[in-house]
Amino acid sequence: MKAFKALFISELKLSLRGLDMFIFAICMPIIVVVILGAVFGNHPAFEGANYSFLEQSFGAVATIAICAGGVMGLPLVVSDYRSKKILKRFQVTPVRPSLILAVQVVIYTLYSIVSLILVYLTAAILFDFQFHGSWVVFLGAYFMVMLSMFSIGLLVGGIAPNVKIAGAVASLLYFPMLIFSGATLPYEVMPASLQKFANVMPLTQGIKLLKAAVLDLPIESVFFSVILISLIGIVCSVVAVKFFKWE
């Protein structure tokens, strides 16, 4: 526990010093909320909808930080620490190298939660955002999305042969997911063909779950999403643990 605490403090400081996560996980979602709020205001999401456009987008914006941390931050830090042999240094101490990975997961979880709170406050204070559904369902879905995205990140970081490849794969996952899953560009405004493509991405499914939770829509329509996200989470975690390379 002593080691976890010391590592947590120092790794959090290092991460904040890096600034990337502060920009992509903390600032960017807030900016997206402000833009969506300013452009669409409190207009209903569509003719006759009893919720606003922003309310419809809330779930999506809340996942920006998860996406940044899970498929960008985590894989890069894991492959960086492996190639710098920092993980190896931990192998010759009484603690396991996995401790430093656990610390990273906790840090990215923290970024996601802080981002969620800030996104909510911004939307509620500036744009009169109303949460129609159940917070319990929302948080359940939120952590599920987090688990699946983080497991993808650990998988990429754990088996990519070097930082360059990890970075390339991370970008390949990050940008399409961020743009097409509805996290920045609203899913509703995309043409049908693009929606079909977006549907295969786990983040799209996660956002559907979150949206249903925010707007209090029936959960049956998103049964497929639950299955898909859980499946991806489980498969990636198992593969990541099984094929993880410390060195």
Binding site: A3, A6, S10, L14, K84, K85, V92, P94
Partner: protein, 243 residues
Amino acid sequence: MEKTIEVNKLCKSYANVRVLDEVSFQISRGEVFGLLGANGAGKSTTIECILGTKKQDSGFVAVLGMNPQKERKKLFERVGVQFQEGNYQERISVDELCKVSNSLYKNPLDYLELLKQFGLMEKQKSLVSELSGGQRQRLFIVLSLIPNPEVVFLDELTTGLDPRARREVWKILLKLKEQGLTIFLTSHYMDEVEALCDKIMILKKGKTIFYGSVKEAISSSPFNQLEDAYLWYTKEEEEYESV
């Protein structure tokens, strides 16, 4: 005498190339052991097999009577390691690196005291990446001593140090040796080996070509300097003919 490190018939190959061929030695408590040889002779692989970060193909290794792979957690409470390349996070400060190392052990030494001893006190707040080569090297020796170890592994411990700093490090190591610390080191500096080591082993392409004291190394060669003797022992066959 108590055996601190025991290595018996250690063998290791990478992709069918033998990098260690039946290497055997024993190190007693309080001894300073020097592993010598050209780059690629198998020194780092030997250290890694002893530490359990690599698995040998065959042979036996025990450190403080423990199997380094099976009793990792217990063993590394009592063993300090300085790897050849310092491995640290970008943008981490000296103080943070020490604090984290400190938190990994049950009974660590006061790292401030160690920083003072190694002349790094005023660098406490600096980033590790901003230290000079010598300062960084000293910092990594400090890190290896934080667990208050019974055995310490120092891979090329004084590479990059200026002569005065090297002498300082020797002095500290000799003092620690008097207190019973067992030291396993690799070095390319023969003056250092002569000043510190009780026993040495010279490796060449994974084979032991000399194992004994510094004095024996010199007396069984045609030379009277360790450096000459070392070069004589490690000479390539082709070179040998042309002399």
